[in-house]
Symmetry: D2
Subunit: 349 residues, 4 copies
Amino acid sequence: MSRLSTALLGGTGVVGQRLAELLARHPWFKLKAVYAGKTAGLKYQEVKWHSEPPAEVADLEVLRLEDFNGGYDVVFSALPSEVAGRAEEHAAEAGCAVFSNASSHRMDPDVPLVVPEVNPEHLELITAQRKLRGWSGLIATDPNCTTVGLVMALKPIASEYRIRAVRVATLQAASGAGYPGVPSLDLIDNAIPYIPGEEEKIAREARKILGELDGGRVKEADIRVEAACNRVPVLDGHLECVFIETEEPVSPDHVMDLLREFRGLPQELKLPTAPDQPIVVLEHQDRPQPRLDRGAGSPPGMSITVGRVRRGSSAASLLLTLLVHNTIRGAAGCALLLAELAAEMGWLS
Amino acid sequence: MSRLSTALLGGTGVVGQRLAELLARHPWFKLKAVYAGKTAGLKYQEVKWHSEPPAEVADLEVLRLEDFNGGYDVVFSALPSEVAGRAEEHAAEAGCAVFSNASSHRMDPDVPLVVPEVNPEHLELITAQRKLRGWSGLIATDPNCTTVGLVMALKPIASEYRIRAVRVATLQAASGAGYPGVPSLDLIDNAIPYIPGEEEKIAREARKILGELDGGRVKEADIRVEAACNRVPVLDGHLECVFIETEEPVSPDHVMDLLREFRGLPQELKLPTAPDQPIVVLEHQDRPQPRLDRGAGSPPGMSITVGRVRRGSSAASLLLTLLVHNTIRGAAGCALLLAELAAEMGWLS
Amino acid sequence: MSRLSTALLGGTGVVGQRLAELLARHPWFKLKAVYAGKTAGLKYQEVKWHSEPPAEVADLEVLRLEDFNGGYDVVFSALPSEVAGRAEEHAAEAGCAVFSNASSHRMDPDVPLVVPEVNPEHLELITAQRKLRGWSGLIATDPNCTTVGLVMALKPIASEYRIRAVRVATLQAASGAGYPGVPSLDLIDNAIPYIPGEEEKIAREARKILGELDGGRVKEADIRVEAACNRVPVLDGHLECVFIETEEPVSPDHVMDLLREFRGLPQELKLPTAPDQPIVVLEHQDRPQPRLDRGAGSPPGMSITVGRVRRGSSAASLLLTLLVHNTIRGAAGCALLLAELAAEMGWLS
Amino acid sequence: MSRLSTALLGGTGVVGQRLAELLARHPWFKLKAVYAGKTAGLKYQEVKWHSEPPAEVADLEVLRLEDFNGGYDVVFSALPSEVAGRAEEHAAEAGCAVFSNASSHRMDPDVPLVVPEVNPEHLELITAQRKLRGWSGLIATDPNCTTVGLVMALKPIASEYRIRAVRVATLQAASGAGYPGVPSLDLIDNAIPYIPGEEEKIAREARKILGELDGGRVKEADIRVEAACNRVPVLDGHLECVFIETEEPVSPDHVMDLLREFRGLPQELKLPTAPDQPIVVLEHQDRPQPRLDRGAGSPPGMSITVGRVRRGSSAASLLLTLLVHNTIRGAAGCALLLAELAAEMGWLS
């Protein structure tokens, strides 16, 4: 097929640039336009890049977000949440299929919040969304970067054990705050025990994603989720220490098998951006480490890594540590995989 | 009174140097000798210092640990645990009062493991210890640096609430691994999700410290403790994210009051190294931060700081973040305060 | 005497806060007002502080720079250079003695650019300045932070050797870029070999400061100065590797003596902020180091440290490494010492 | 041809591992054995790796260096200099062609010290070496990592200008100190202005490499070289600020052309590890930066990058900043390219 005409809203931030890289040679989507705020008017390669700008799109002119007026099959949104909400609705009204990394619509009851390996069936919400909003387009969202890693690890466990409570403490990379993001003066010889809004997002998004589709809406999972989020002096890769309580006794060895063997619909459909193995289990007790493991999977950064799976203080208590590349699997790559899934499932036609 | 004659075993490591600094102008203890392994024969100021060597002890010759033969009122031990056990026993046999930062004897049933504000009454174990071992001296220990911060925060809460379970995830500073400790190649742009032995120490030491003295021995507290420990690129100051489950509903505001108002026996006795306020509660939601808050209290680093006290996912669930200066309150300062307490309570005579 | 009424323009930045700290308990100057841009209206303690706000000024309301209208004996300016020029002229017109850390007026022929130990006699330019501009006030400036350290080390050498050329390569701390300054994403696992405008400033400011007063104006020193400036992941403290060519053979030992024995007018006058020893010579070959040595002197950070004084590839070639605390001796402390000097020399009456 | 049988001495250090990676799929050399000190007996993949161990050699058993007894066509040495000297002589006596990254033999008059693009003709020293030492094998060396970058940038300039003096100040990465190398406690929020032996190596090695072969020996270049070396908190990539004095006026634009167009014998011979363009000239004034540019070239890390080429304080003065990947182009890759060059020039037969 000829590639779908694609636009990128918010293409100049940290996540937008990752999307551009992943889209540069994509077999299904052709990036035709990049929209942004302050840098409109520059060539795409002239904005501040955090890696080499991909040659395929280096010469695109950055367009003004206000001038966006639809006309694309697919729209990716990496906009800041202050402006994302309205712009994405506008795009969906104009008939575009919008895949968003912004938080604005994630918790709307008629908007799917999806990690493709975890809850692909939630895309069914689009039916209600189109009916309710009268759109020919659609909005589908991916979760907060930290949530992505968490629900990927929980899903295979939840398939065999009833999870009662999850506590997660995170060590999050600087790139999660965007650019310029966290000043050096705040992060040299330091860590910051607070990330605005993050803990609430993890709790409510995880419950929605792990919830069940029930009569055209999602019934949230009945799992207690508590989070404590910290920023650390690391470039990329969020580390998450997870304490899991189950209803019944849980075996760490069995859980490691479940994680290793976990495959989802993207793997089954052999989607272009789907890693063969979504979860890589590491056996060295000092892994995963952000710098060593954030590039796991193929495309690099699309697999999460899990280590230190161990029993807690009771038979129904399990601890593990996971790592998710926050701007790839946790953001750009997740949105792209979601678009591929929606395309393959027929939602774009 | 004239100052008590004091020796320092393992005086050249990170904790040993902190002890020397704190002892340099101490009103009760006079540091007369420093014993160490490889650097014996050098002047104390000639070993690798991590700050300025205190003038009072700069010219002491570092003595060989093998040549230690007692003859001091007080002995502080900051030895590596491989050699600490036997050396400390030897000192106690020789009639010295040994205050140890090493892990070797912490869990011995007849050895007090004490944070002076938390469980001063456990020093009573010395009676049994002397009887059992036939010593005129004694061994008393302080806990692992991470445990010190944890039990200090838990104690005032436990005074009003029954704590059922504690999960703690830590972000620990490089100095906790000693010197040379963690190579730069392992910690630049990275975090390490594992610290050998640390998680087990936290669990078992916290239960002993919070336990009750019962007929000459300690009955461990019936609290589930789970820990996940991480090393981060920070010089000093361990950050701990604590998830607490109580039996009954818990009020964050009430807990903040309890923490703020907490005072222990060292404060009552006005011990020289006791901070006026053992726990400083910070109200900015992005605090405590290691670099900004590790020097809290007077002497600097002797108070822990606590922030982000908040309700979890149920009424009986509480979250907070604490910071403990690992080499001061968590080690050298804690040992020194313990010695002061023991002296004041009459155990040294 | 009663303390001089003092205002601080640009008091909320990194250097402004250092000035406030140094002024908090100053015997001669009383800080009465703080002016700033965006944060006007807040209490001073409510702006983002990089250390604890001094209690003496914590409750001052931050005033709008546009509302500044003179009425102070002394004005310190830590304004960004875009707005400093006009505001400082305005203050001098209004009769204030302005001591500025901004670059706007440094190279004006009638404005003294002074490091108090190095060229106090340049204050004489004020006579011409007042005549030319018709002011009752005055403007005097201190140099760029890197230049301060450089000319302090060169001055005693220049007193005995004719210096032909100076090449300096710097490793500059993040705080030199202000706050928010350098993003973490640019400085983790990285260094940046460029600081806008810095190299030119070093060359021309050093030549002015080391120049001679000649008939009411400064004749620049005939020294070739070349600089290469780099940003490194350090909080405070600029390290400078200096290659010096002299006309005649130079002895490292002699130079070390010259540096150690160097005293200036501030020491002679016993100014409150003058360190006893402006230059501390370190003998360990791996010093000075930013974290260990930036606090040298009293007040802390007011002395520079010099180490590794050694011969180069010819008898008339000398190398050394120096460290200057960029926000204290290199900025806030230098401006304050300059004001003390001007006061003591009678320029304020 | 069938691949040459190859051994790696000192294969478990930082440079040794890089060599193993580069050799893993090498078309000419087949890595058959790895020798090391303390880790002998382990499988190669079981030693501490700083990246993924290459599958081709993961199962090799690490052999004891003392058991090395020749029997290979080619031997790479990444041994510490304390043991390298004798071991390499032993290998050359045994008929092996030894390519060494150690400093032991670099300054021997009959041992070539070669950067393949810069002074390939120096391999001719092997004739004298074999005669003198009676070896059928040979020893050829590559220089210190910092020197490699420096002489690569100087060579094309020296081809058109007479260079009188070179001053270089470096910001060197932690990996240059090997593993464990620099402790985190020494490098967080810090820089160290001293690297033992490094400055002397740069001066004397650069003069030898840029020297001319004259009657079977190298006549050192008559260039004054001065160096000031610093360690900074960066993983890989040494940054060098270079001040160059020439006899005649020098044009930065011309120099940039010379650097860009520079090609050597490895490029002409299309050696497998030769980058197409040995020197990449960057035009953004804030480049090169270690993290962004250390991977330049193909294979990644084999090109040096140069930026900020600018005039100094006179017409015959030039400044530039260069970056060399210290463990690849500066060490492992340089040794490998040297072996390829020697093989292609017929020295191995």
